[in-house]
Symmetry: C2
Subunit: 189 residues, 2 copies
DNA sequence: GTCTATAAAGAGATAGAC
DNA sequence: GTCTATCTCTTTATAGAC
């Protein structure tokens, strides 16, 4: 049993609304109304609308970054690493599906250091994935297509998984992992 | 040489801005400033901001719908049809890359009949793709994974192609088609 | 911790001059 | 076809009472 603070409640409500309509289309009034309070009351718990967006996006972005670092430093085959990355995405999708809408579509509305931090994390993430794929090609585990096509093809599927996961009414995670790994990997091996 | 009307110019400008920041984050003043005129002048050519969004999204949505209908009614193998669908997406991406941002991210801001029309087109499109995949499974051309996983996996890659196409600085279309078909098809055959 | 009231800025859209 | 001026509404955010 964990207690949820008022601030966390605001962020959870905002996350859901941002998922439905996007950051700019959701007003502070919308968030407050959904919580049955007035917009002014929100400012007792958070500093600004911007802060809400930052908390939603950066928290999940850090999970991706940490997960990827842990995968890339493992001492296993490239294919095994790709599998782990797929599983990482599925786990995060299952736990934070609504936050991924903001991460994918509203990151450009971050400001200053938050924007910089996010862009850097995303670039590092892609670069690590690229390294894994090239490692797999060098080892003869992965077919030598254009590496960017493989990178993009897998990543775009994983990044939009949250849209599909919501719609399908939450498939069993283990079945999802198995099928997803098959479809995405068997294509490049 | 085709002359571009003022209305088309407005739509082209809005398309670019919507691509960069999203529909709700772009104001009529933003569009006007980018064209070096005043916001009020826009209304001599268009009825509302909504109308701009509709024109951008529905035009491209119709291209997808028409293209898919023409593919699905062809008398060829399922695999050949999947190839044609991939090529359809690549052609539309090349010609309307910026409009695809609005189509993917801002369709929920359409109103009334436009929203209904769009949702119906998208559902029909997915259903036709589903039919092709099932046809391929029945014929033994496509591996019997969960059909929704295959559908989602290919479609999510194709739908976000516009993000990647912009970033890569416009790869040669024929090379893109060949590699994309390989990566996406060889995975399911 | 929530409220009312309100400030200050910006939104979409219209009227009417030129 | 574009302009200035303006209307009306909504936005984020703050001040201060309770």
């Amino acid at each position: 049993m964990k207690t949820i603070s008022r601030k966390e409640e605001i962020i959870a409500t905002a996350t859901r609304l941002f998922y439905e309509k996007g950051y700019t289309a959701v007003s502070m009034r919308d968030i407050a109304t959904a919580m049955d309070i007035k917009a002014a009351s929100l400012y007792n718990h958070i500093k600004s609308k911007q802060e809400i967006l930052s908390e939603i996006i950066l928290k999940v972005a850090k999970e991706f970054t940490d997960g990827m670092v842990s995968v890339v430093t493992e001492n296993t085959s490239a294919i095994k690493k790709v599998e782990k990355v797929i599983e990482l995405h599925i786990d995060i999708t299952v736990n934070h599906s609504e936050a991924l809408a903001a991460l994918n579509n509203d990151w450009m509305h971050l400001e200053e250091e938050d924007l910089e931090a996010f862009v850097k994390m995303r670039e590092d993430y892609e670069e690590n994935f690229r390294i894994i794929i090239k490692q797999g090609m060098d080892a003869g585990e992965i077919k030598s297509y254009h590496p960017e096509v493989i990178l993009f093809s897998i990543l775009s599927t994983l990044r939009t998984l949250y849209l599909w996961y919501q719609k399908r009414g939450k498939v069993d995670v283990n079945i999802l992992k198995k099928d997803m790994v098959s479809v995405l990997i068997k294509g490049i091996v």
